[in-house]
């Protein structure tokens, strides 16, 4: 089975500024791919290249096995949903949905059939006669999705479709998009800078930075085995703890050089263990404390600096032998500034990065 989308050696420059370079990407049939990255890293640019809204500088784009590098957006077999909805304000919802189809001279009964289906899937039947001005943000975004839906295409492109909505609506629509994907089984490429959206929706996530894809993998893989320090720090909230230090590959021990030293036995190295300066990453939620620390392979004592009770859990800033460490405790545990508490963790859940290349060891 061919891939749904293949991007080969893509390069895009605006004059002297190169935004994307040597980008290769393959998206399988029916896959939900999320492009995740900080602002300005080129996510929208990549999406616009796939849609044909930007002319690429070099490289090829294939959709459903066809080379569409020079094809018009409307003839690439894609549908697109925009952050600002981009609905035509003076047309009714129905007008918005049918405008492109009428223009492409799709037969009337076929249009009616597609509208009916889209309206049913998205539950916008009661809105069809209204204008976008009279809709709420969530309803507008549903109509915008509907406009892509009626095009009856294989590939859907979403550019931060939920970022103009408030938190609750966002969560609701996120679930709906996921359900939509399960019903339609289309290929979807979804741009966001919200990691929750990325983790919950994606079959695979592509983490982008500076116009390049840093890691392309299943969400759990990205969370558990980030390929470099940037990805490790980008994913996860609160962010991963990083410690600077020296790794002894033979003895499999880590030493900050400032009084904290422990074994990393159990860590799965990518290659053969090496010796040298490294970054060690430890997720706050992987640190156990109190009585749960007892059965952890690595144990130490932490001095509590600051406490942030959040209800369900409590975030603790602490110092371990001069090393700053943030971790989470059960919200019911009593903890105070100045307390000394035992903590522990499993080296299998650590991440080790080379100090100079910042790549995973």
């Amino acid at each position: 089975m061919t891939n749904s989308i293949e991007i080969k050696d893509l390069k895009l420059s605006f004059g002297a500024v190169t935004v994307l370079e040597d980008l290769n990407l393959e998206v399988g049939q029916g896959e939900f791919l999320v492009l995740l990255g900080s602002s300005g890293c080129g996510k929208s640019t990549l999406l616009n290249c796939i849609a044909g809204l930007l002319d690429v500088t070099d490289g090829e784009i294939h959709i459903q096995g066809q080379n569409v590098t020079w094809e018009e957006p409307s003839r690439r077999g894609i549908g697109m949903v925009f952050q600002s909805y981009a609905l035509y304000p003076q047309m009714t919802v129905e007008g918005n949905l049918t405008f492109g189809l009428k223009n492409a001279r799709v037969p009337k009964d076929e249009i009616a059939k597609r509208i009916a289906r889209a309206a049913e899937v998205l539950q916008i039947e009661p809105l069809l006669k209204r204008k976008p001005g009279a809709l709420s943000g969530g309803q507008r975004q549903r109509v915008a999705i509907g406009r892509a839906l009626v095009r009856d295409v294989d590939v859907f492109l979403f550019d931060e479709p939920l970022s103009n909505l408030d938190a609750k609506l966002r969560a609701d629509l996120r679930v709906e998009i996921k359900r939509l994907h399960q019903t339609l089984k289309n290929t979807m490429i979804y741009v966001t800078h919200d990691q929750v959206e990325a983790m919950t929706l994606a079959d695979r996530i592509a983490i982008m930075r500076g116009g390049q894809i840093m890691q392309l993998a299943h969400p759990s893989e990205i969370y558990n085995r980030p390929v470099n320090k940037y990805v490790a720090g980008f994913i996860g909230s609160p962010a991963m703890n990083f410690m600077e230090g020296q790794l002894d590959g033979g003895a499999q021990r880590f030493d900050t050089g400032r009084g904290l030293e422990f074994s990393v036995q159990g860590y799965e190295f990518v290659g053969p263990p090496t010796t040298g300066p490294v970054w060690l990453g430890l997720r706050p939620e992987h640190v156990q404390s109190g009585k749960w620390a007892e059965d952890q392979p690595v144990q130490m004592e932490a001095l509590v600096d600051m406490v942030e009770p959040m209800g369900s859990d409590t975030q603790v800033w602490a110092k371990v032998n001069g090393q700053e460490l943030r971790f989470r405790m059960d919200g019911q545990e009593a903890v105070d500034i100045g307390d000394r508490i035992p903590i522990g963790f499993d080296p299998a859940r650590l991440s080790l990065f080379d100090k100079s290349t910042e790549n995973r060891l």
């Binding site: 002319d55 690429v56 500088t57 070099d58 490289g59 090829e60 080379n67 569409v68 590098t69 020079w70 094809e71």
Partner: protein, 297 residues
């Protein structure tokens, strides 16, 4: 087989001579000619002598460049009563422009400041009346203003005209200033008042230093507006005080004597130079200015 050509790669091939581009740039160039033609004709005509004009066509460049028409237009052309050229009109226009500019911009800025920051009961009503004034055809107010100026003993003098310019400048410029001042952060005024600054203190030390752009915009509207005015000049001044536009019209459209087209065009160019200079030097600000002034005409 030419299979190699059929795998698209890289940028879509662009044809600079695609019909679309030819139409686009073709239209732009044709319109540019329409807009540039008068400037060109004006310039070449003013540099020819009359003999050449009579035999040649108006679009051909001068065979022999002469600045005589410019000299004549400036210092010798006759307006019917006297023959000292446009220089007198230029002087009058400058003497009208400077006080009108200062007075109209200051009054408008101060009024805008009152309306934005020191509203009192009824101030909005007066503002509404003022804005309505922008839509009253000048002809309705011409005679009442004659009477007012006559009562004040200013009719026919330069100062009368200055006052008229100030009056008719108020609606647009007050609106500009008011809208600009309203958008300044309100905390600033509160802080200044807490610090003990009063009406004038806030105006001079806080508002004015923060409002240079709007002063420039209003200044541009006023310079071109006052310089280009014709109607008020004819109505409210005596012939010896006529501004440049009125004098220009008298020179060109005077029925006596032989028509000297080259002198006429030199005079026309001379009159257009000031606003053109403002336009070319202030560029984007000019666009902003007229767009802002135009928001309600």
């Amino acid at each position: 087989m030419t299979a190699a050509v059929t795998t698209p790669r890289g940028a879509r091939p662009k044809n600079p001579f695609a019909p679309r581009n030819i139409m686009l740039y073709g239209a732009l160039i044709i319109f540019s000619i329409y807009y540039l033609l008068p400037l060109y004709v004006m310039l070449v005509t003013s540099l020819k002598d009359m003999a050449e004009i009579r035999v040649g066509n108006i679009f051909s460049p001068p065979v022999e460049i002469t600045f005589q028409p410019w000299v004549k237009a400036w210092s010798e052309a006759c307006t019917g009563i006297n023959c000292d050229g446009l220089s007198r009109g230029f002087g009058n226009s400058v003497r009208i422009l400077i006080p009108s500019l200062i007075l109209s911009v200051s009054v408008a800025a101060l009024t805008g400041y009152v309306l934005a920051c020191w509203r009192f009961r009824g101030s909005e009503v007066f503002f509404g009346i003022l804005l309505l004034g922008a839509f009253i055809p000048y002809q309705v107010l011409l005679y009442p203003l004659v009477i007012i100026l006559r009562e004040m003993g200013l009719f026919g003098s330069l100062w009368g005209l200055v006052l008229v310019h100030t009056v008719f400048a108020m609606p647009i410029n007050v609106l500009l200033f008011r809208n600009y001042f309203v958008a300044l952060p309100e905390e600033l005024f509160k802080a200044a008042r807490v610090d003990g600054a009063g009406f004038w203190g806030i105006f001079f030390r806080i508002v004015i230093p923060m409002s240079l752009p709007i002063f420039v915009v209003s200044g541009i509207i006023q310079v071109t507006g006052i310089w280009n005015d014709f109607l008020f000049g004819v109505v409210y001044t005596r012939p010896e005080n006529y501004p440049m536009t009125v004098q220009l019209n008298n020179i060109v459209n005077s029925v006596q004597g032989v028509k000297e087209y080259n002198v006429n065009m030199a005079a026309t160019m001379l009159t257009g130079l000031v606003p053109l200079a403002v336009y070319f030097f202030s560029g984007r600000l000019f666009v902003r200015g007229i767009a802002a002034g135009a928001v309600k005409g």
